[in-house]
Symmetry: C2
Amino acid sequence: MPMNLQVLLDHRPTGKVSPANFRFVETPIPAPGPGEVLVRHTFLSLDPYMRGRLSDAKSYAKPQEVGAVMGGGAVGVVEASNNPRFKPGDAVVGMGGWQRYAVSDGRDLNVVDVSRVPIQAYLGPLGMPGVTAWYGLHKIIAPKAGETVLVSAATGAVGSVVGQLARAAGARAVGIAGGPEKCAYAVKELGYAVCVDHKSPTFADEVKAAVPDGVDGLFENVGGEPFQQALRRLNDFARVAICGLIASYEGAPTALPDMRIFLVRRIKIEGFIVSDHLSLWPQAIGELAGHAAAGRLKWRETIRDGIRSAPQGLVDLLHGDNFGKMLVRVD
Amino acid sequence: MPMNLQVLLDHRPTGKVSPANFRFVETPIPAPGPGEVLVRHTFLSLDPYMRGRLSDAKSYAKPQEVGAVMGGGAVGVVEASNNPRFKPGDAVVGMGGWQRYAVSDGRDLNVVDVSRVPIQAYLGPLGMPGVTAWYGLHKIIAPKAGETVLVSAATGAVGSVVGQLARAAGARAVGIAGGPEKCAYAVKELGYAVCVDHKSPTFADEVKAAVPDGVDGLFENVGGEPFQQALRRLNDFARVAICGLIASYEGAPTALPDMRIFLVRRIKIEGFIVSDHLSLWPQAIGELAGHAAAGRLKWRETIRDGIRSAPQGLVDLLHGDNFGKMLVRVD
């Protein structure tokens, strides 16, 4: 008899997260109740925001509950449905978490069209990371043609979409990524004008050279020292979208050393969480799907096999070992 | 024969500015050339932004030139005019600087209506400080009715207008000011719900108690430790307008210690300079004059007598010794 395999948060990390913070349990496959849907997951999403939910410090999301199934985005196929919006065989995206089977009341579940893109695209460029990129770029940075947009984690699930959307908007996209392989991909495949390796010993000089006209929009995913160098390149009236600060999730806080930059440069810095803007998701996903259909939106995936690989996958993601969207293929 | 008395920047300050950085010269009263206007000043404006212009560090404004007349706003009366827009006897506001007489080509000069307010109001609530308050409050903070707006330097030329505009917009205005006299005035005359004395040893607790529902909009004029306490009280989606950081102009920089506040709270921080938005001045001054005519806009002045008092007046302003708009009455 097939069982459900689940990953629970065993205890909260102190310092860096490790696979030992999680444990696995096998439980009977649940039966959907009235109005409910049973989904068999095919891919789980691993995302940087998950690190924040492992702590119980006050944040924008409720902390992940200890002893409960680790939450997160997932795609899969409807196995059984007592909900008229879903029928067996439907491809769906939802928030089923780290488990093979999930039951949903349907409220956070959406049927997706897999005729033109693989289902896991709805965890990446046509899902939360894509909408995150779309919101931060279009609603905060709002680049004008000819402006320079600098993107950290430029080849990640979010950053790769930011760069391509910025270019589609007529801006010059400049990336920051970790290592020559990612930087080469950023320029050759994603359309960045330049990509600077933050591991380079001459990083600061390279950033300066990469943005001869300064930076009008900064899409920040990382924080830390690369962010400090980016700040130094901001133009008057620059807009900074704070999407993530992955370098600080398990390390030292990222500070802004001198608030006078707000006066000298008249900059705007705004933080955002894409789940605050659910009403814009249909518009965003529609536009992203249009770019994908027109061949203007490329992406890359790092796929780990098996639910049991999810904890180490998250650790590796936080360390920057992924290349593009980090996924777990469900066995 | 009456002469022109001028205040020149003698040399740039290193550290704190002092009257010794300036010197006085008497020169013949200039004759206006073709298209020009001769103005006899009645009041000079002293403003915190002037400190930045005394340095030659890169900033939003060109540095004050050494050996030249100290720049700044001033009001006065047209003595002679070769410009059809002005006639002798007109009350005008302009940027004539620290001198008894100034010649202008008329481009930065505006005739003002002194039938309902004293002329120096155009250096205060109906001038640059008033428009600064209006822009930061309405264009950056945009308070909704019932929200809490926290204002530092709450009784200063800018802050006093912010508080009254916030209240007129239906928000709850809370002030921070230096000393019990200013705080009492803020509540009794300016309509702040509460005003906290930043010199109090229990300042942090008092700020917390003053904003039981948190802070939705922060109008920052000061920086330093009061700013750090204000940051701790920000609500989700708070908007912070950075207007000035007077505590850092001659002291330690004001830092933002942890950028994660942008994600946890999804806040926006935006710096601005009112001279970037000249097209909005007529609308702003119109609205401010309407509030003044309706008795909803009060202000206070600290007046020093004689041009020779201007340098010490600026030093005192930077030290917070003014109470309301700081002016020099021209002898």
